[in-house]
């Protein structure tokens, strides 16, 4: 039995944030009906592609975000689309949108309209929410991270601030929306209430606990503003080069320093004078420590350093890239990687379960759908006759 079995989600989202939210639901067993526009979700055009050959069913990002979903093509700009949406809503327990507030209204998928069809929860992911001065402003992952108050303190003091990798900030919005969606589903199932849930990506970034909401509270408490650092502080710590890449080290005074010293296993570092907190501030002391630590690091691979670190529980870990993560036997054996099978791209590896459920496993039931693959079946279930579907197709309302 799946945890979210019996739950139907009507998914109007596209691109990254919304599809990530509904994918989390789909992977736990919800039936997610993706209402796609006739020219397809823009995520179908996002790189990377299998073999670098673009195609609507060849994108890794597209497949990643849309496994386990069904695609129904509806042109929401057509007046008759409302009748289709109405009948699909009647069979759903949750709707998710990710269009700008003005676009929501143009497409007839704003909360007022959707809730007139069925009083179910509607999770609405927007850039800046449904009101306020920035309501209609545009966002990209980089702009989002910039405004989220963390970029300013990420990077080096004398250079420009830095973003996170990939599209992390946007996907964080999708994850937060999924948490909201579970709350909304619970309120609906337990209390019988439908409602609008507004998930602004900007507010999600500001609320992020990794250094930005804490930096904001720190500002309110102390008046101090978190700056970009001058470099790693302390006797040891930060990123070190090793024979085949880099490792991340935490060796702050106390236990973590002692474990780090146990890992390096050089008696010169066991001298109690290193435990004096003032040593950490002394550049000469750091240079002396580096003189021992760097050669140790550079003569070992990441795997060797991590092996040594784990023996003494030192706070050290290798810096992996995607190929390392894919190649790591341990994560493979644990099940981090799953597989999809699709008529065009065949069998391909797919990032697998983010969590292991004892009774209701995360699982892939189907690869991402081709455009409109489920239009006929879903409309048929919703009560449209073959003739009606034919008429809607002829008029370009569905495809």
């Amino acid at each position: 039995m799946d945890a979210l079995e019996g739950l139907t989600v009507l998914d109007f989202t596209s691109h990254l944030a919304g599809p990530y939210c509904t994918r989390l639901l789909a992977d736990m067993g919800a039936r997610v009906i993706k209402v796609e526009r006739p020219d397809g979700d823009p995520a179908r055009t996002v790189q990377p592609f299998l073999g670098d050959q673009p195609g609507p069913d060849r994108g890794a990002t597209w497949h990643y975000l849309n496994t386990n979903k069904e695609s129904v093509v509806v042109d929401l700009t057509k007046p008759d689309a409302g009748g289709v949406v109405r009948r699909l809503m009647a069979r759903a327990q949750l709707a998710v949108t990710s269009s700008a507030p003005l676009v929501e209204r143009e497409l007839g998928i704003d909360y007022a309209r959707l809730s007139s069809y069925a009083d179910i929860p509607v999770v609405s992911i927007t850039n800046f929410g449904h009101d306020g001065p920035y309501r209609d402003y545009r966002l990209s992952d980089t702009v989002l991270y910039a405004m989220g108050a963390e970029m300013y303190s990420h990077g080096l003091a004398d250079r420009e601030p830095l973003k996170l990798g990939g599209t992390a900030a946007i996907l964080q919005g999708g994850a937060m929306a999924a948490v909201a969606a579970m709350g909304a589903i619970t309120a609906y199932e337990v209390h019988g209430v439908g409602q609008l849930i507004d998930v602004p990506l900007f507010t999600v970034q500001i609320s992020n606990i990794d250094r930005r909401s804490s930096s904001i509270l720190a500002y309110r408490f102390s008046g101090r503003v978190q700056q970009r650092p001058q470099g790693a502080g302390g006797l040891a710590g930060g990123v070190y080069p090793v024979a085949d890449g880099f490792v991340e080290v935490t060796a702050t005074a106390g236990n973590y320093w002692r474990r780090f010293v146990d890992m390096i296993d050089d008696d010169a570092l066991r001298d109690p004078r290193w435990e004096n907190p003032m040593m950490a501030m002394d550049p000469a002391a750091k240079e002396e420590a580096d003189g021992i630590v760097y050669p140790w690091m550079l003569s070992r691979t990441r795997a060797e350093v991590w092996d040594e670190a784990r023996k003494v529980r030192a706070m050290v870990a290798p810096i992996y890239d995607g190929t390392d993560l894919f190649g790591d036997e341990n994560f493979r054996a644990r099940g981090l990687w799953a597989e999809i099978e699709h008529p065009e791209i065949g069998k391909q590896p797919m990032l697998g379960r983010p969590y292991i459920f004892e009774k209701t496993p995360w699982r892939i039931r189907s690869a991402a759908p081709s455009l409109g693959q489920h239009t006929d079946a879903v409309l048929g279930e919703a009560g449209f006759s073959t003739a009606e579907i034919g008429r809607l197709r002829a008029e370009g309302v569905v495809a």
Partner: protein, 438 residues
């Protein structure tokens, strides 16, 4: 409005620490779960209530604000006013018990018997050492949901691995993707994106398990290895590796989505920056027009993404020269009005004062306590129109709810409470040995 709280009636026995775990249970507490934080007066749990149990104004001032931006005079209980940790304690309750002693463990078991969830992200094996293996927990409460959030997994070759957010980000493939294009990862500052991510996914998993239990009466164990959940924050890099054998490294502030330009540019003043993305040729044309159609931008070669990508270094240089003399916020609004995706790089103080956040109700003012002044606090990131999902009760102070837990919940009488207080289980501050080790 409280009747629409989704998780009203759900109780969490909360053993979480640091950020990821405490954030996961915070989301559930926001939604109405009664989250009871189990705290031990004899143990200083690192990076859970503050960076250090003894911090004075002088030390705080030399450490970075995010971790040590306490009120100017941190006072005797810095664990009640650390900006890094106290926020994740909102809507929660705190009680103290020395769970290493048999009578303490029995008290924890009593809590477990009336709990729906037990959540933890302690160093692997810590709960088992206390006598709280999954089996022992289920012996007390067979239908309980147990969430473990280990760093690298409860099985496999890395079970002895230890790590905080920085180490999780390293293995998950996050760290290698951020940094300057022209410098090594050793220039990276710590950003712990995986903590937030892990917290959200932990909360999501728990609510999915709660749904299954509502329908079947069945509890279960969930293991969420933080590295494995965090790998999902970078699917493009992970899958390009898996499908095409290509390793992604940092692209600086450039886009992996094919947006050119995409970057962070200087504006007038000191350390003021604006982020600009052209997400389509249309946005590029809007930018060129906004710039006044300069020759470098108006050429046919620049009209396409491919052309702009070929000339990206020069393009960025031209754009940076142009932005360098403009006022940041004027530029932000003007570019947005012109149809270009742009936004200021806000620092913490500017975000705190941002007019949009204020207008949309991002903050709620809480009264001063003995430990911190009256300031605005973050509310949950999302707004439910019917359910009162909000900052309803302030961050729980250490031991603040001992009376509630011992008297109301567990029904101890006055004598028992006095005895437990004398034995050190019930406390409103840490014992000297905990402070010594902190």
């Amino acid at each position: 409005m409280n009747e629409y709280l989704p998780l009203k009636g759900v109780r969490i026995c909360d053993f979480t620490a640091v950020w990821a775990g405490q954030t996961a249970t915070m989301y559930l507490a926001d939604m109405g779960a009664e989250c009871i934080k189990v705290e031990n007066p004899f143990i200083w749990n690192p990076m859970t209530r503050a960076a250090s149990p003894r911090i004075n104004a002088m030390v705080a001032a030399i450490l970075p604000p995010w971790i040590a931006g306490h009120p100017p005079e941190p006072g005797p209980r810095p664990w009640n006013n650390s900006p890094a940790f106290i926020q994740v304690l909102r809507n929660k309750k705190s009680f103290t018990v020395d769970s290493r002693r048999p009578e303490g463990l029995e008290i924890v078991k009593q809590i477990i018997r009336s709990s729906d969830i037990i959540a933890e992200n302690l160093a692997l094996g810590t709960l088992e050492k206390l006598g709280l293996s999954d089996e022992a927990i289920r012996a007390e409460r067979p239908d309980i949901i147990i969430l473990h959030m280990p760093a690298f997994g409860r099985t496999g070759s890395y079970v002895e691995g230890r790590g905080y957010g920085a180490h999780i980000d390293s293995v998950a493939g996050s760290t290698i993707l951020r940094g300057y294009r022209d410098s090594s990862p050793s220039d990276n500052a710590g950003i712990f994106a995986g903590d937030y991510w892990g917290g959200m996914h932990g909360a999501f998993a728990l609510m999915a398990a709660l749904r299954h239990r509502r329908r079947t009466g069945e509890g279960q164990v969930i293991e969420m290895a933080q590295v494995e959940s965090s790998a999902h924050m970078f699917p493009q890099a992970a899958l390009d590796a898996a499908w095409n054998g290509r390793a992604h490294h940092s692209v600086g502030n450039r886009s992996i989505e094919g947006f050119v330009p995409n970057g962070v540019f200087p504006t007038a003043g000191t350390d003021r920056w604006i982020a600009i993305s052209c997400r389509s040729d249309q946005e590029w044309r809007a930018l060129v027009e906004f710039l006044g159609n300069p020759a470098w931008a108006a050429s046919a070669a620049m009209a396409t993404v491919a052309g702009r990508a070929e000339n990206e270094d020069a393009l960025e240089e031209h754009l940076a020269q142009w932005t360098a003399t403009r006022e940041r916020d004027e530029l932000f609004h003007a570019l947005q009005a012109a149809g270009v995706t742009a936004g200021p790089v806000l620092h913490a103080g500017e975000a705190a004062e941002d007019p949009h956040l204020a207008a949309t109700g991002a903050w709620k003012r809480l009264p001063a306590t003995e430990d911190y002044p009256e300031v605005d606090w973050l509310r949950p990131a999302y707004r439910f129109t019917k359910s009162d999902i909000d900052l309803r009760t302030p961050p729980c102070l250490f031991g603040e709810h001992n009376d509630y837990v011992y008297r109301e919940l567990l029904g101890f009488d006055e004598d028992a409470v006095e005895r437990l207080r004398a034995e050190g289980h019930i406390a409103s501050t840490f014992a000297p040995e905990a402070l010594e080790n902190g």
